[in-house]
C-alpha cells in the first residue's frame, strides 16, 4: 500500500516488477491517496506526504500481532516476516501453551511457560541457540 494511484501501481508492476517476479506481484497492490489508511496505522509522514516502510502481521481475528516500521532508505527482510508468522501460528495452535525463544525457527525448541520453568530457562535454552 502506498499513496500512489492504482494506475501507477499498474505501470510499476507491468514495467518493472514483472521483470523481478515471474507473473508480477501476486497480491493486491493497494492505493491510499491522501494517506488516510497509513495515518490510521501510524505510518503516514504528513511532512513528506508519503508512507514509511511499515509491515503489519494481522492474525485471523483481525488482531495486529506484530509490526515493523522503517524510514524509506532501508528495505525489509521477508524471511524474518515469514519466521514471525510461523512463530505466531505455532503459539496460536498451542493456545498459548508454547512460546518461541529468541531466534526460533520451525524445528527448534519452544518453551512452555509455567511454574516449573521459572528461573530454569538457562537449563533448556542456550544463547548460542539464538543464531544457529
Amino acid at each position: 500500500m502506498s499513496v500512489d494511484s492504482v494506475f501507477v501501481h499498474k505501470m510499476w508492476n507491468d514495467n518493472e516488477l514483472v521483470k523481478m517476479v515471474n507473473g508480477g506481484v501476486p497480491f493486491p497492490m493497494l492505493s491510499d491517496g491522501g494517506g488516510k489508511v497509513g495515518a490510521a496505522f501510524g505510518v503516514y509522514d504528513e511532512d513528506a506526504g508519503v508512507e514509511n516502510r511499515g509491515r503489519f502481521i494481522i492474525d485471523p481475528d483481525g488482531v495486529i500481532q506484530a509490526y515493523e516500521v522503517l524510514t524509506p532508505p532501508v528495505g525489509r527482510h521477508v524471511a524474518e516476516t515469514l519466521r514471525q508468522i510461523q512463530a505466531f501460528q505455532l503459539v496460536r495452535a498451542t493456545g498459548g501453551a508454547e512460546a518461541t525463544p529468541s531466534g526460533w525457527k520451525p524445528g527448534k525448541i519452544t518453551l512452555k511457560p509455567g511454574p516449573d520453568l521459572v528461573g530454569k530457562v538457562w537449563q533448556v535454552w542456550k544463547t548460542d541457540m539464538e543464531s544457529d
Partner: protein
C-alpha cells in the same frame, strides 16, 4: 476480494472503515491530536477499504474480508522507490 469498481478516469478512493468521526469536543482546549488512536500489538487492526491493482485488474480490498486468514500489510513510500 471485493467488487470491481467501474472503469473510468476517476481515481478510486478508499479509507478507514467503521471509525466514527470523533464527536466535537465541547472543551475547545482539548488538542485534536489526542483523539487519534494509537495502533498497538494485541489490539484489532483498524479496518479499511482501498482501491487495488491485482493481476491485471482494478479492484477493491477491504481488510475485514480477510478475517480467518493471516494478513501481511505493507506500506511503502511510493512506487519505483528502489528498495
Amino acid at each position: 476480494m471485493a467488487e470491481k469498481p467501474k472503469a473510468g478516469c476517476a481515481r478510486p478512493t478508499g479509507g478507514p472503515v467503521g471509525q466514527k468521526k470523533p464527536a466535537q469536543a465541547d472543551d475547545k482546549t482539548q488538542p485534536q491530536e489526542e483523539v487519534k488512536k494509537m495502533i498497538q500489538v494485541g489490539k484489532p487492526a483498524p479496518d479499511f477499504s482501498a482501491p487495488a491493482y491485482h493481476k491485471g485488474d482494478f479492484t477493491s480490498v477491504q481488510l475485514s474480508k480477510f478475517l480467518g486468514k493471516w494478513v501481511v500489510l505493507c506500506f511503502y513510500p511510493g512506487d519505483f522507490t528502489f528498495v
